[in-house]
Symmetry: C2
Subunit: 142 residues, 2 copies
DNA sequence: CTACGACTTCAAGTCAACTTGAGGTCAAGC
DNA sequence: GCTTGACCTCAAGTTGACTTGAAGTCGTAG
């Protein structure tokens, strides 16, 4: 009785049905059954989708998210792997913080050339304390 | 004399020449001149590239980054727009923090089903304080 | 009992951000 | 003066994450 069909999940999550089907195809979510042809989802799926979108905005691929939160929305990685993911996110938070500070600085700094402003260079350098081979990102407006 | 050619920029920035040419094509960076056919870059470009990679890891598209830091690597947006970008980043930092906390929690919480753990639900809800229509991300390993 | 609308599948298309490959240019060292 | 290697251009290919379109399937309201 409390099953949701794809349209309801879409309405409540703000994610298009086509995207939800795609998520099912790659194993991020699963329908509990079918009503005729229609997928029936448990309300739980909304929570799982929240995790998915958190992961996405963190810059993880769908595959990586599936790795963090198994097919059921429950993490199936060993503790250490999860902490390592958390560390990655910490690093990303530090980078974002540096970028935000940089933006606020350039918004307010009256110097003619930021490239020569020591504050600016220091801000940028903060992010330089080892990023390495990392996250590439992109937007898509539904 | 202190011009860098693309191979040097690539070596010092860790960004492939093909990507640098792509960045030039979309107006993110610019060569000051050519030596024969070869692009000559100012050392400044390395700082600009740092800004670009910060922006990328923040989930901005190359177009958006070009919007924040004009063709010269210097921001050309009005103060208010920059602060608005900074606010967007703040929101993203909050989401990332929630995700990291969630990961650390699930790594350590002994509850059998996280979906029923109140701490878990609270952590997830923290991120729910309105994201709206937002950042989609992806990885690409060079 | 039929029409409707919300769903279904599947193949193909799109978009960003690059990468790859073929074929060409050129300055510097021998 | 010729070879070499690092660069060049331009078109086409790749990947991830979807979206779109055509053609079909249902169950419920009238």
């Amino acid at each position: 009785m409390k099953y949701l069909d794809i349209g309801e999940v879409s309405a409540k999550s703000g994610i298009k049905p086509s995207a939800l089907r795609h998520y099912e195809a790659v194993g991020l979510i699963a329908a509990v059954s079918r009503h005729g042809l229609r997928r029936q989802f448990l309300p739980e799926v909304l929570l799982q989708l929240k995790l998915v979108s958190m992961g996405k905005s963190a810059g993880f691929s769908l595959d990586e998210i599936a790795g963090m939160f198994g097919r059921n929305g429950l993490p199936d990685l060993p503790r250490a792997a999860l902490h390592q993911k958390a560390d990655e996110i910490d690093r990303q938070i530090r980078e974002l913080t540096a970028l935000r500070n940089t933006l606020r600085h350039v918004a307010d700094c009256p110097a003619p050339s930021h490239m020569e402003c020591p504050t600016f260079r220091r801000l940028v350098d903060v992010a330089g304390k080892r990023s390495g081979k990392h996250a590439n990102s992109k937007r898509r407006l539904p």
